[in-house]
Symmetry: C2
Subunit: 427 residues, 2 copies
């Protein structure tokens, strides 16, 4: 069955700063997830500079590729390199006009800004006037920051949704864009999507590839778009059935889960962070961390979940040996005998954190994040983990993790999350 059954969408993210690598785009991934969830097929994401000709060509490309929807982000700000509204108006063949009501609305927002920051005057009024220009026939979307968005129909398609660049503003404006009439009309034509996903931990991609080849030798999987994605230590498998192939996808989903049960983390797309939060709540456990090389990254990841104050007791970043001993009670002679990076110290960090914060489960992490400090016995990437619980569980690991300093710290945080999850799931 053809993939053409799903309307195609393109995401065009503008900003010359994205092409110099000064900043990483967060809007492309966010919009892709939203559009995919709505059942559209994202044809591509294109990052272009603030040059009007480049944006114009990107819009032409979306039309050529048969996209029915283009979502743009950025280029709505007050500076001269912010030209999206102008270029989109030309693409749609509609003149720009000052939207008086929008002008007043922005003026009110800017007055508050001026009062709060002390910045104001003619600079702000020029910004106001520029941001209130709307292509004829388009729907203006109320600002979340100061810049309004646009929904701009083009005769013959595609429909263009113009959103601001700051992720907070873009995400805040998205629900408003979805309920405009042109977008609602488009979405009404999208077939329902019954996507399924699986997440594994510690399973190489080649194993899933082999399993898929085996299954494919027995039966036709061509109705299901299968993507595998290695995200540090996690492997995610997404199954998107084309219309009519829901049963094939469901059977494949169950079989992959069964064949690789030992490494299975989730079968419904729930993130590891949410799973751990749920498992800790279910046990009624509180957690405390004793981190050396990860330096607070694990604690920060735990705290990032809303409502985590219910089960995060706290943590210590025991980066120096003095801190390990002074704050978490790691015996100085243990450090002298085994080294600061050792399974023994990881366990003492876990116990120390658990006891110091009066928590039910503690985790200790100590390792060589590099680039310096590696030895033959304990090379860069060697990291010791220990999870201990008040009821006597001990889970320990000391893998050698690949990559540079940041990779090693991020992977260590992943391993820590999965060890905590394993402990909390044990009966």
């Amino acid at each position: 069955m053809s993939a053409a059954a799903r309307p195609r969408a393109a995401v065009v993210v503008t900003g010359s700063e994205l092409l110099t690598g000064a900043i990483s785009d967060r809007n492309g991934p966010w919009l892709s997830r939203e559009l995919t969830g709505l059942g559209l097929e994202v044809a591509y994401v294109q990052l272009v500079g603030d040059r009007p000709a480049d944006l114009a060509r990107a819009l032409d490309l979306a039309a050529e590729e048969g996209c029915e929807l283009v979502v743009t982000s950025g280029g709505l700000g007050p500076t001269a390199d912010d030209l999206t509204a102008e270029v989109v108006a030309a693409f749609a063949g509609a003149p720009l006009e000052l939207d008086e009501a929008m002008y007043e609305r922005i003026a009110t927002i800017l007055a508050g800004f001026a009062a709060r920051t002390g910045f104001g005057g003619p600079a702000l009024d020029e910004a106001n006037r520029k941001e209130a220009m709307v292509p004829r026939g388009a729907t203006a979307l109320d600002p979340v920051g100061t810049a309004p968005g646009l929904v701009v129909p083009r005769p013959g398609g595609p429909l263009v949704v113009v959103l601001p660049g700051p992720p907070r503003e873009l995400q805040g404006m998205w629900p408003t864009a979805l309920v405009t009439e042109p977008v609602r009309d488009l979405l009404a034509r999208v077939p329902a999507l019954d996507a399924r996903s699986l997440r594994f931990f510690g399973l190489p991609e080649s194993e899933i590839a082999a399993t898929l080849r085996e299954i494919e030798a027995e039966r036709d999987l061509s109705g299901v778009e299968i993507t595998t994605c290695l995200r540090r230590s996690e492997l995610e498998v997404d199954l998107r059935p084309r219309p009519g192939a829901d049963d094939v996808a469901a059977a494949l989903h169950a079989e992959l889960a069964r064949r690789h049960a030992r490494h299975l983390v989730s079968t419904d797309g729930t993130s590891t962070d949410e799973l751990l939060a749920g498992a800790l709540r279910e046990r009624g456990w509180t957690v405390a961390t004793g981190e050396s090389c990860t330096g607070g990254m694990l604690a920060s990841r735990l705290v990032d979940v809303a409502g985590s104050s219910d089960y995060v007791a706290g943590g210590v970043v025991a980066y120096s040996n003095a801190a390990k001993t002074g704050l978490l009670g790691v015996p100085a002679d243990m450090i002298a005998t085994h080294g600061a990076v050792s399974p023994e110290v990881a366990r003492a960090l876990a116990d120390g954190a658990r006891e110091r914060f009066g928590a039910d489960v503690g985790i200790g992490i100590t390792g060589v994040a590099g680039p310096g400090g590696g030895t033959e016995a304990k090379p860069v990437g060697y990291v010791c983990f220990c999870v201990t619980t008040a009821d006597g569980q001990v889970l320990a690991r000391d893998p050698r993790l690949p990559g540079g300093r940041t990779d090693i710290r991020e992977r260590s945080t992943d391993v820590g999350m999965h060890l905590l999850l394993r402990a909390a799931r044990r009966s």
Copy 2:
């Protein structure tokens, strides 16, 4: 002067998982920074799915846009959706051939992998054979993981550099790609680039826009490509002179720095993290953190700099009131009187962290990250900061920060970094 003086490059990142938003691309930003640094103009970054037709069209687009170089990432793995080598070979009009020497090299790597993980057998040999296929006339680049890269010349251009998807492998292989003959020949034709940048903290984008309009009214700035980029609380201004406009860019750079000196952080692109590391080293200071709402994010950011063990003493994630009192000595009656989120408690956290770790400078952060817990007096986004030093400095702030939970925590970390920097720079 025309921007066409710089050879244009395109970055094509493959992976259907990028179009569902399952993962954020890290290769586009990294490659953009590298290519820009080499003096090329990045025309665009395009993220496409693992569908061969889509990659083929992306390569055609680069040729149509007059790009002299295309760098692709991803699609070199063992699964059936990894098709980059095949598509690039067709684009270059060169047949794929098994590279025997490369086959042996990969076999050796995989044998080590099999021994380490226990995964092996026919699944691995199929992966090996697939990854050792090289287009005729292309240069194969030694694997960093298991998949080799490629440098594939195409008659009439562009030159295609094919790199693996995992960022660690891509970054590790890049230097090898740069010294291949076809890439060296291309780079020899690139004019030198004298780019300049400025970073400000707490300066609205509209102020820079107004300043630029004022300066532009007096003199011609058209020889300089100017981009401004708001990155949470930091505003970055990049100036890229076209050939012959170096003096204009230098004068503009100096003027912007002078006019907005109060908010200036750096004039040479150095990151805030590096500046703070340098300032702490120069003072010979050690730093300790007492974090509530940021939950270790600030400590983790400090630790992310290589060599930070020289000046990071440690930190406490004092997320619960018991932890604030028990580990950092915040008086319980202070919390009862002023609330856990208060300037008083922020100061006590800073003093407590500094004293507990024996550090020269301490920072306390406590705030309402939301989504719950806000009140009229202390709404979501209200965050109290305090930096105190052993020599008696006290720097305090209590702004209301915008955004959702993650935004507020990230912005709080930014503010914390800048307050520490300010303290360390004071004479």
